[in-house]
Symmetry: C2
Subunit: 261 residues, 2 copies
Amino acid sequence: MGTITKALELLDYISTQRPEIGLSEYVRLTQRDKATVHRHLVELAECGFLEQNPETRGYRLGPAILRLYGVREANMPLRSVLRPFIEEMAQEVGELVHVSLLQGQQLSPVVHHDPRLHGTQVAFDESQLLPLHATASGLVMLCFGGDDLRARVLDAPLESFTAQTVVDPDSLREKLAECRGDGSVWVEKGFDDEVSSLAGPIFGLGGAVIGAVSIAVPSSRAGSEKRAAMVEALRKWVPRLSELMGGSLPADYQQREVSHG
Amino acid sequence: MGTITKALELLDYISTQRPEIGLSEYVRLTQRDKATVHRHLVELAECGFLEQNPETRGYRLGPAILRLYGVREANMPLRSVLRPFIEEMAQEVGELVHVSLLQGQQLSPVVHHDPRLHGTQVAFDESQLLPLHATASGLVMLCFGGDDLRARVLDAPLESFTAQTVVDPDSLREKLAECRGDGSVWVEKGFDDEVSSLAGPIFGLGGAVIGAVSIAVPSSRAGSEKRAAMVEALRKWVPRLSELMGGSLPADYQQREVSHG
DNA sequence: TTGAGTGGTTTATTATTTGAACCGTTGGTA
DNA sequence: TACCAACGGTTCAAATAATAAACCACTCAA
């Protein structure tokens, strides 16, 4: 792993839950040497990607992010382009829908919308990176992504988030093989104990998967009827969203009629 | 300069005017070795800070920015907190107002607002980094910032943007000395041939300058009456904005009654 | 006073980054 | 068709920059 990657990974530890991290805590989290971490933090701070809270001496995200975000959204307003469509899709299916993009070996949420039609709803944190092996969106990426990505993720030790997280590489590979036929992936309580979700791929320019769209429901509400509706919604929106991103479905991609599970 | 800084600097070349940059163009812009630049670009892309346009093979800002922005604004909603105040201030003074934060040896715009009350107006690009020696905001930073920053900026060769840009370090130091008494800085056509502006400091937690607030007007409109109004507006808003940022004015800071120029 | 927790710094050692030259494509032109 | 230039990308020895262990200074609580 290069120095740049190591440094930038530090930024990933910051979230809305943990807005600020001190040197020692970083050392614990990363298991790296203190001097190394410190140098990286200082350099990131000098570049404006972090800033040090003068009171606590902890490090938090810096102002450089603001400018870059402005440029990115001005040039390719992904979030603002997707949002209205995701909202419409969420209204239609009556459940929380989110889109995430591949970023290294994780998924980074871009937009989500919850129509809030039910008493219980899925808590979705747009600032939390999603693992590839334990979420429906993630498995979609592994399924339609390249062999190298699949190998890198499945050959590494896999974290278990719930009692139902599948961490056996062979079982996962089997599941992926099935999914390729279906065109979508169903995961039950893989990342959260009470949430199940169905996800489909989003293809970008050049025909490669760039991300995934996912419908997440409380598992208690995931009856067969609901699941059929979700499959139907994906069938409709997967091509639309890919088109929106300037991509198109690969020739060998097809969404089969399936009873997931 | 460290590797991390070198890599992250690549991101600064991207703007709304230049949304995407190819390898060769980067080599030209940075004057660095091609292999080096390429490795940095690839690593930034792997981290999601850049992504490669599969059609043109050019590099543009990646999705990682989106998540980080979300976290930053959720934790410390600088932009959204400042915006209403800046809009009010701009309405009051009837001219474009912007706030920028220090980022390395440049200023990064955070918010701006133009009340658009006049036929001519200043064109302000929120995605463009501002130099410290040629803008009112920048001189404010040099004036109230640390000796090290002042030395680093003034000892390096200074770029001339207009015929009136002051690039002589000694003249600049003189100007800075005056400004420290005034509490604000007036710069005429230093960065743009038709724009003049008045800026004041914003202090953060710990009492250090973190950025500047600036009022920018077409030089043709910058009569003595207008300038007096601008000074008055700064007198009112500088303390407010610093307070908003959790900081307070240093004991030795005072805004004198001055006729700039 | 002691000990454990911070944040931060120094040093030789080590490993990574670097840069000149090279390769394979593409697209325009003689 | 042959040629040339410009592009993105790769290779490998040489040089530089990152690293890890130990250390320092400080704060807090026991």
